[in-house]
């Protein structure tokens, strides 16, 4: 003390934006050490009020006045995406079940509860547990409203070398924007910002999607985990649901996605999420993730999705030898 302090507000991508700006501060040589803290307190108000506050990030004239919510945008996206790529409600439920199973292994997860296909989808009374939020999306297709915080310390290679922990490097950062409203996108099923941000992060890191051992994707809605896994390049378009079905994205699979439980189970304290994703990757790459450890993970990847895909950050993290 004294240090310097800044506040970064970038909606659901605030965490990723803050990590990126901290990274730029150190990489430029101006700072030796930057502490990035993300946090959000959302449960001081009842659900409909929290939903309204989050919805205020939609376009004031073309969207907000109609009562559109983030789940509503995701519902309209899901309807088109599911039809285009033959994705079923079962696939969406598989994302929720997998991520809540992972969340059970994460002591920091907001939701610690095992769920079943019968309980959230196939039983005739399943709608009692998982009512429609914004059809086709049900309650268990949506992340919870959470309080939470996460922090990472960024520093130079020289200082990191003096520490006893294995070093994890931010090898690639990518960011891209898309139109504010969904209706302005020529192909509303194309998450252009996810695609471009991921390409940039991979290019900077000199790595390819096949080199990644663990990924934290922004599953604010189950459909987004599938769509992002395709747009980031891990699976061809339309093949993400099949990979999920085959268990490729479980811990122990070819590419574990959201071993932390993702937004679905770890929770989505909006400004904390992008930082929490980096924290999880650091734990995974250092081999400190406990029961949810992905074996021999040395390269990690994250997507932090702002708005409804209008401002997206992607990171490639690499463990140094």
């Amino acid at each position: 003390m004294p240090a310097a302090a800044e506040r970064i507000e970038n909606g659901p991508a605030s965490g990723g934006s803050a990590v990126k700006n901290g990274f730029l501060g150190v990489a430029s040589g101006y700072y030796d050490i930057v502490l990035v803290v993300g946090g959000e307190k959302m449960r001081e108000v009842i659900g409909p009020k929290a939903t309204d506050v989050v919805a205020s990030m939609t376009h004031p004239e073309a969207e907000y006045i109609y009562g559109v919510t983030l789940p509503a945008l995701a519902g309209m996206f899901a309807r088109l995406y599911m039809e285009k790529y033959d994705i079923t409600h079962e696939h969406l439920a598989m994302v929720a079940i997998k991520n809540q199973e992972n969340g059970l292994l994460n002591p920091y997860a907001h939701i610690q509860m095992k769920i079943t296909m019968e309980g959230i989808l196939t039983h005739p009374q399943a709608h009692v547990n998982s009512p429609i939020v914004a059809d086709p999306l049900r309650l268990y297709d949506c992340c919870p409203v959470s309080d939470g915080a996460a922090a990472v310390l960024l520093t130079t290679e020289e200082i990191a070398k003096k520490l006893k922990k294995p070093r994890v490097m931010i090898a690639g950062v990518g960011q891209a924007t898309d139109t504010h409203t969904l209706q302005e996108r020529s192909d509303p099923t194309d998450l252009r910002a996810v695609r471009i941000a991921s390409e940039k992060a991979f290019k900077m890191a000199g790595l390819k999607p096949k080199d990644i051992h663990v990924a934290e994707l922004h599953d604010a809605f189950t459909i987004l985990e599938i769509a992002e896994s395709e747009h980031a390049g891990f699976f061809p378009m339309g093949k993400g649901a099949k990979a999920l079905e085959n268990g490729e994205t479980r811990i122990g699979g070819k590419l574990p996605i959201n071993p932390s439980g993702g937004l679905k189970a770890r929770g989505h304290p909006v400004g904390a999420t992008g930082v929490a994703q980096i924290v999880e990757l650091v734990w995974q790459l250092r081999g400190e993730a406990g029961e949810r450890q992905v074996k021999d993970a040395s390269n990690g990847f994250s997507v932090n999705f702002g708005g409804f895909g209008n401002n997206v950050l992607a990171f490639v993290l690499r463990r140094e030898a």
């Binding site: 009842i46 409909p48 939020v133 969904l182 209706q183």
Partner: protein
Amino acid sequence: MKTITAYKCKSCGHVMFPHHYRCLNCNGLEFKEIKPTTKGRLLTFTIVDQLPWGIDERARVLGVVEFDNGVKALGVIKAANPRIGMRLRAGWKPVRVIAGEKVYGLTFRKTK
């Protein structure tokens, strides 16, 4: 009937709603103000059962409509059994009360 105003780029013809200072297609700076046609078709929709604070309805159908002249806009769908591709006719009704004032917006009913 009152309705939204859309913007047609004078250089490339790209139609935009809402307004932007530069054309999203060609970066053009000049636009002609246009009104959407009365009819269009439904591109996608969702039935929202969990509405935000301030809308006292059990559920509301929201959808994106492409008007016959290419304008695309979100609105409240008041047609039974909505489906993609359905023909709709636009209306202009109060859609929300904000700070005590009625706010008008696009509503859509079934048509041929």
